[in-house]
Amino acid sequence: MRVLLKALLVLSMALIAASATGVLRASQLALRGTGDLGIVIERATGSLLIVDTTGRKTLSRVEGLGDLSHASAVFSRDERYAFVFGRDGGLTKVDLLTGTIAGRVVQAGNSIGGAISDDGTLVAVSNYEPGGVRVFDAATLALVADIPAAWPGGLSKTIGLVDAPGRRFVFTLWDAGETWIADFSNGAAPCIITKLEGIGANPYDALITADGRYYVAGLYGEDGLSLVDLWDDPVKPRRILDNYGRGEAKLPVYKMPHLEGWALAGDRFVLPAVGRHEVLFVDARSFAEVARTSVHGQPVFAVARPDGRHVWVNFAHPRNDTIQVIDSRSAEVVKEWRPGPAVLHMEFTARGHEVWVSVRDANAVQVYDARTFEKKAEIAATSPSGIFFTSRAHRTGL
């Protein structure tokens, strides 16, 4: 009897443990990898689609992620989990294999994206309210560090949060015009924070180059960008592309451009200009402007195909039904078409054979051959916005 009871106890404990971790559920699924999976944010309904980029199809929908307007995501090193950053401060860990929520915390009132450390153990979230950055354990979502972005004006909204090599995060203070580097290489708390002041007025977004060396913040309040070479010791910001508008009148900016997709195209970087119908080409060594291309509207994303030969550009309202493709060598537009109303985001497969495009007001994601521009598939999605593939797990800054 005692043995039986003991066996029952062990069995029930095992069952509880198994169901709590989702092992039972996972074991019912066919074995598969996650390297060709991704997620599509459905911004209006607080849901996302788990997609298979090989089959060009939706595997499942996950609901209950809160306000996903302007949501973004990063991936665990094993490419099994997506960490989704919602607008409402929600940080949700989604299991791509089981199609379920593995963890969720509402960690602030208003947020704008995040990053995962190079060792995959820390997830950081950039917050508008309360202004600052909070860092969580990637396994448990327990709070590891709270970094209020204090400046003389109170708490600053933070933007442009990225991971940097050496268990560091870099982010920028919108109100204060400062870039901060939070170094977790010696453990969680206290992390070492380096503050770079006076980088410029109203930095609106930032990026880190794929090698983790350069951090570049775009400025809304001034023509120009702030550059930090993280290999310098001590690090110091410098201004690049100063006065690229040369005093010309800016157009009203209906949507802030993103710098995240800003990638190396050959030996040049390509980036969207703020308040202009232009993309700028910047020499990757000198950071001097070497060309600019007139485009269809105010660019939002200028994303290089992974080989760097082409740059795909989408545009702000009210000209957001169009994509233009620019040849990075000639800086000329080589292709232009209208996928549909409100093209919000473009995501290349890891080696760039295809690109997925969200067309919000058509409730569709379109899949294109990235060389022939042939449309290969269309997937139904409700107000789709950001598209994120698991291959980002192994790229710095994405």
């Binding site: 209006a44 306000d67 307007s69 302007h70 607008r87 208003n110 508008y128 009203p252 209906y254 802030m256």
Partner: protein, 111 residues
Amino acid sequence: MSRLWVAAGCVLCWSATSWAGERWSGTVDPARAAALERLVLQDCGSCHGMTLKGGLGPDIRAATLKGSSPKAIKEIILDGVPGTPMPPWRSLLSEGDAEWIAHYLLQEGGR
């Protein structure tokens, strides 16, 4: 005639959100109203948040805007706020559009 009364009601108690629960529709037709509602949630939402509780731009929910006049809000929409990222929408929206949005925000934004 009934439309006139609704209009009069609007003028008298624009800030009272309780009147009959009927949507203010004075300056645009229903199709335009639907397009404007989408614009507010999706495009204004890119800075103010889809629930309008704020982002890079401030909270513009009805409860927060309470006490502001529709005229002041309309002017902010059309002319923007210099020195901030709020752009002038005059080249994209008519006076009637902006007026409709101002009333929309005061009555239901962020509900």
